[in-house]
């Protein structure tokens, strides 16, 4: 298996957000700025990667019937670890992301990858897959956060380059939906062209 292809699949071709429409809640909820978006993306990537690793390691010991509960426990443990670490060392980011950190548990992306990929593939592929998917997710959050931050507060990564307040709507809830709508449209167009 060509690992690059594998990576690219998760990162771009089957991008969780733009193509599969998975894990939409955090995507909308935390992207008021690039930092928040990327923070969330990396947190998710970490959980995705770690759970993929653990799942491919233990997959052969787990009976079929308790597969999914076991995966949930594994994922939830990593989520809790991320939660605790963030609380301890990045408290302000943790406050911003709020509810959405525990919700990584129910992000279909994570469980979906564990179930559909890691439980069937080799260690390396699973790592690559987890990285690809996770970074693809992070990229989506980065773009959405970027657009919203630029339009909404006239700054990028906290650096303000347009004086004044920006277009408030874009950091509020409606802006999240609208921006994501247009981003998906763009992505559709790009995908169609390259396909």
């Amino acid at each position: 298996m060509n690992q690059w292809k594998n990576f690219n699949k998760g990162f771009f071709r089957e991008n969780a957000v733009f193509v599969l429409y998975l894990g939409l809640c955090p995507i909308l909820g935390v992207t008021t700025s690039v930092i928040n978006g990327v923070g969330m993306g990396l947190a998710t990537t970490f959980v995705l990667l770690m759970s993929n690793i653990v799942v491919t390691l233990v997959k052969s010991f787990i009976p079929d019937k308790v597969r999914i509960p076991s995966f949930i426990v594994i994922i939830a443990s990593f989520v809790t670890i991320v939660e605790l670490l963030m609380q301890a060392y990045l408290p302000s980011l943790f406050n911003e992301l709020g509810l959405f950190i525990p919700l990584i548990v129910v992000n279909c992306l994570v469980l979906g990858r564990a179930e559909a990929f890691a439980s069937k593939n080799t260690f390396t592929s699973s790592v690559v897959d987890g990285l690809g998917m996770g970074l693809g997710f992070t990229m989506a959050l980065f773009f959405l956060g970027g657009v919203r931050e630029i339009l909404g507060s006239g700054s990028f990564l906290g650096f303000k380059f347009i004086p004044g307040d920006g277009i408030l709507l874009f950091i509020l809830a409606p802006g999240a939906f609208i921006t994501l709508g247009y981003l998906i449209m763009l992505m559709n167009k790009i995908n169609k062209k390259t396909a």
Partner: protein
């Protein structure tokens, strides 16, 4: 196909005996195009069997449409979710105002589900008679 008064579902006949036909409901065709298929449910046990009374001329493995009236769908929803919800809610309100003890109230109200389902169990036959599915051959 827009709105109809009937809900239709494709299914496959898995067994037939003198009076009953068992049909295995196939998952939504909308799901089949979804990228997350097969992983969207917490459990991987897909139990979607329907029993229909045997009205003749069907064979095992045949593709059929299982038909349910929309009103029955809502009725099922009512019995399966809305009514127990009301039972829980009422027990909760009563017990918590009587006992002023949250643990007790919470546990009792959840426990109220048990008698509810027991009652439902006694009405099993009645329900069975009410909820009738029909099957029809696949339109070609």
């Amino acid at each position: 196909m827009g709105t109809t008064k009937e809900i239709k579902h494709p299914g496959v006949i898995t067994s037939i005996d003198s009076s009953k036909i068992k049909v295995n409901i196939t998952t939504y065709s909308a799901c089949s195009s979804c990228g997350a298929k097969g992983i969207c449910s917490i459990s991987d046990v897909k139990d979607k069997m329907v029993e229909v009374s045997n009205t003749g001329d069907f064979s095992v493995g045949q593709e059929v449409q299982v038909i349910l009236h929309q009103t029955l769908g809502f009725k099922a929803l009512y019995l399966g979710y809305v009514q127990p919800f009301i039972v829980v809610l009422i027990t909760l309100i009563i017990t918590s105002s009587l006992t002023r003890n949250e643990v007790l109230a919470g546990l009792i109200s959840l426990g109220a589900l048990a008698p509810y389902y027991l009652v439902l169990y006694f009405y099993k036959e009645k329900i069975r008679n009410k909820f009738t599915f029909a099957i029809k051959k696949q339109e070609q």
